[in-house]
């Protein structure tokens, strides 16, 4: 379960979808530009529009199913609701006598200004989470790393090392389960800070073996060739332009 969230499984349907074929760097760029764009306004509508666009795009162009998307995003949405609620209740605007009062329940006073701020913040976090989830669920990790190395000139040693480590995540989750059951069978409580030491030893050992395996196959010794050449495609440009247009339209509505 933990592994499923940390290392989502991007299947062939998502990989072959329009968003899946779009270069991951383009998608990453869109996410960053959208984020900066949202910084230009405090209006609630633009982030909600971008959230909607991201989700519909993921379903229609990313090959995602409603169920899979909902399962991944639902816990995060709960977190967003919590953040918005906390900001609504404990806002600095509430005790301000000049602010417009909306509701008063006993000592609790909620003002229009607090509601606006909480809604704006909630909508923004919501859009970041939704865009991030659609990116993660439609992006093949190998494609992302290949693009980083070949197009963005990221060091292969760093990039492929990260990719290999990423694959050890499910295994580490399994290790944690075994460590807990070992404690149980020795008559001890399953959870104890000591378990972290065991997990750390395992993580270091995995990393060590992996590094040896990579070095033994000549990694980082010199010039590399590439088995999966990556280049910019017309599709990448089209997706980037469309995303930019959507951002401009969303911001225009706010004015």
């Amino acid at each position: 379960m933990t592994a499923a969230i940390l290392a989502p499984d991007v299947g062939p349907v998502q990989r072959e979808s329009l968003l899946g074929r779009t270069n991951p760097l383009v998608k990453l760029g869109i996410a960053v530009v959208w984020l900066i764009g949202l910084g230009l306004t405090t209006d609630v509508r633009p982030p909600l529009i971008l959230t909607l666009v991201a989700l519909i795009g993921g379903l229609q162009l990313g090959g995602l199913s409603m169920g899979a998307l909902a399962r991944r995003i639902a816990p995060l949405w709960l977190a967003v609701a919590g953040i918005a609620l906390a900001n609504l209740l404990f806002s600095v605007h509430n005790p301000d006598p000049l602010a417009t009062e909306l509701v008063r329940i006993g000592p609790l006073r909620i003002t229009q200004e607090a509601l606006d701020a909480a809604a704006g913040l909630g909508a923004r976090v919501l859009s970041i989470i939704s865009v991030g989830a659609v990116f993660a669920l439609t992006t093949d990790a190998t494609y992302l790393i290949d693009s980083l190395v070949q197009l963005a000139r990221v060091s292969p040693r760093f990039a492929y090392g990260t990719l290999a480590a990423y694959q050890a995540v499910p295994r580490l989750a399994e290790d944690l389960g075994t460590l807990r059951s070992a404690r149980r069978l020795r008559g001890l409580r399953e959870w104890h800070p000591r378990i972290i030491v065991g997990l750390l030893v395992r993580a270091i050992r995995h990393a060590d073996q992996l590094a040896v395996a990579m070095d033994a196959r000549g990694f980082g010794t010199g010039r590399r060739s590439t088995y999966r050449p990556v280049s910019w495609k017309p599709l990448d440009g089209a997706v980037a332009l469309a995303a930019l247009a959507i951002l401009v339209a969303a911001l225009a509505i706010a004015r």
């Binding site: 062939p12 069978l185 992996l210 990579m214």
Partner: protein, 485 residues
């Protein structure tokens, strides 16, 4: 030899090591680039930790990329290398989803792809089930016939390595060479010395193909250190007291395909049961269910008369001892002494120390060392001590003999026999035919989540049982019919 020492591991060098005429043992200069030019490849014990890329084809290509092969050449070579290990068409599969045997074959394909002059394999079959190991052995035999590369195989199960070897170099436990030469010469000259050093020799303890397996006790005579007749006197009546009762159990992870289906199994006091079956057949899952670490979807599992998953830890630890497959995952303390005594009652400590002594882990020399710094075999024996120290009713062992030499094997079998003689039951998941013959009386075979055979050890020769798949399948069918009224 693969050029990883000394650059990867600190240590002291003496003498010289030349591969293809090039000096490798230069402590100052990292020799890696040189080795790669010569083309030396290494395959290690643990298949999963050698796979770098997400998909099989990419992983095989990884070594080629590092040697800057042109794209067209790689596209030709990757399918070739996969075909050579019997995995044609696996390019787009995810390496983490493969079985251990398949992963090890991918690792071999990745090392073979650049056509290395030297291929080093470090116990490549240690983690594999017998079928997976046989496939790897066949691949090595084919490579040997092609004479394309020098193969160095590090192995302490000589039955696999012996028929493949042109030259044998044997070491003792301290790393001193015992003998070197053609296999038959070494066996004739130094057989006794090898045996003394705890090396598994080919042929020992394996029933010859045409001899019907002898009754267990007499078969064990030359191998075992204790008197064979002891067993008959020590053993309480079999099955007199059911320790573990598995009643029509079905299990699946997170709504997936069932891992175990309609499992019926009763293990009584004094019984010694081997759970066998391919990687992924559900052996470990059944062990974990028996120990109450998982809860069955349907059916019930009773350990000492109570549903196992409802047992609180302090009762569970008295009823069952668990020796996990990977000993490091069972370690909870900073020193061996602490590890051994953790959670033990005062009266159990004495027996725990005695076990340490018998399994060659005397606390005087090992007590203050960290469990993580022991060798693989020592770690496994330590996990056996911690699993057996409470004299639990059910001894649940997952691959207990992996990585053990003959001395370790014998000490383990003797300790288990003693506990079973006192009324415990043994349930061991294992790939090790030798352990099944020496330490168990009953063989339960799992395939695809069904129990496909449940028979006394020694009635059918091992190969026969595997070849005779139709019979077990019928048994499974009847078991299924019974469970659905």
């Amino acid at each position: 030899m693969a050029g990883l020492l000394p650059s990867e591991f600190p240590g002291a060098w003496q003498g010289s090591l030349r591969v293809d005429g090039r000096e490798l043992a230069v402590a100052e200069a990292p020799p890696l680039p040189a080795t790669m030019e010569i083309g030396a490849g290494i395959v290690q014990q643990d298949p999963a930790s050698q796979l770098v890329m997400e998909r099989v084809g990419d992983d095989v290509a990884f070594g080629l990329e590092n040697l800057a092969w042109p794209l067209a050449e790689m596209r030709r070579r990757v399918p070739e290398a996969l075909a050579a290990v019997g995995l044609a068409g696996f390019e787009a599969r995810r390496s983490t989803r493969l079985s251990g045997g398949e992963q090890q074959r991918v690792a071999i394909a990745g090392v073979l792809a650049p056509a290395p002059g030297l291929l080093v394999l470090d116990e490549p079959t240690a983690n594999l089930d017998p079928d997976g190991a046989a496939v790897v052995a066949r691949i090595l035999a084919t490579l040997r016939e092609q004479r394309a590369a020098t193969i160095v195989l590090v192995e302490h199960r000589a039955s696999l390595a012996w028929p493949l070897a042109d030259l044998v170099l044997a070491f003792d436990a301290e790393g001193r060479p015992i003998d070197v030469g053609p296999p038959s010469d070494v066996l004739a000259r130094s057989g006794r010395a090898l045996e003394k050093a705890g090396v598994w020799l080919p042929g020992t303890g394996e029933p010859s193909p045409n001899r019907s397996p002898a009754p267990r006790v007499s078969e064990a005579v030359p191998e075992r250190s204790f008197r064979p007749l002891d067993r008959w006197f020590r053993q309480p009546e079999r099955g007199s007291l059911p320790i573990l009762e598995v009643d029509d159990v079905r299990f699946a992870f997170d709504g997936g395909e069932p891992v175990l289906r309609d499992i019926e199994l009763t293990v009584g006091a004094g019984e010694r049961v081997a759970l066998v079956g391919a990687n992924g057949s559900g052996k470990t899952t059944l062990l974990r269910l028996a120990l109450g670490l998982l809860r069955p979807l349907t059916g019930d599992i009773r350990l000492g008369g109570r549903s196992s998953w409802r047992l609180p830890p302090h009762q569970l630890s008295r009823l069952a001892g668990y020796v996990v497959q990977d000993p490091e995952l069972g370690f909870l303390a900073d020193s061996v002494r602490e590890e051994v005594e953790l959670g033990l009652a005062a009266e159990q400590v004495g027996y725990a120390h005695e076990l340490c002594e018998r399994l060659a882990l005397p606390l005087e020399s090992f007590g203050d060392r960290s469990p993580y710094q022991l060798s693989g075999g020592e770690q496994r024996r330590l996990s056996l001590v911690t699993g057996l120290a409470r004299r639990p009713l059910l001894l649940a062992l997952d691959e207990p003999t992996y990585g053990q030499d003959r001395h370790g094997h014998e000490a383990l079998v003797a300790a288990l026999d003693e506990l079973v003689g006192q009324g415990s039951a043994l349930l061991a998941a294992t790939h090790d035919d030798r352990f099944v013959r020496d330490a168990t009386d009953r063989r339960v075979e799992l395939a695809g989540g069904w129990i496909v055979a449940d028979e006394p050890v020694g009635t059918a020769p091992d190969d026969g049982a595997r070849a005779g798949a139709p019979v077990p399948r019928r048994q499974a069918a009847t078991a299924r019919a019974r469970s659905r009224p």
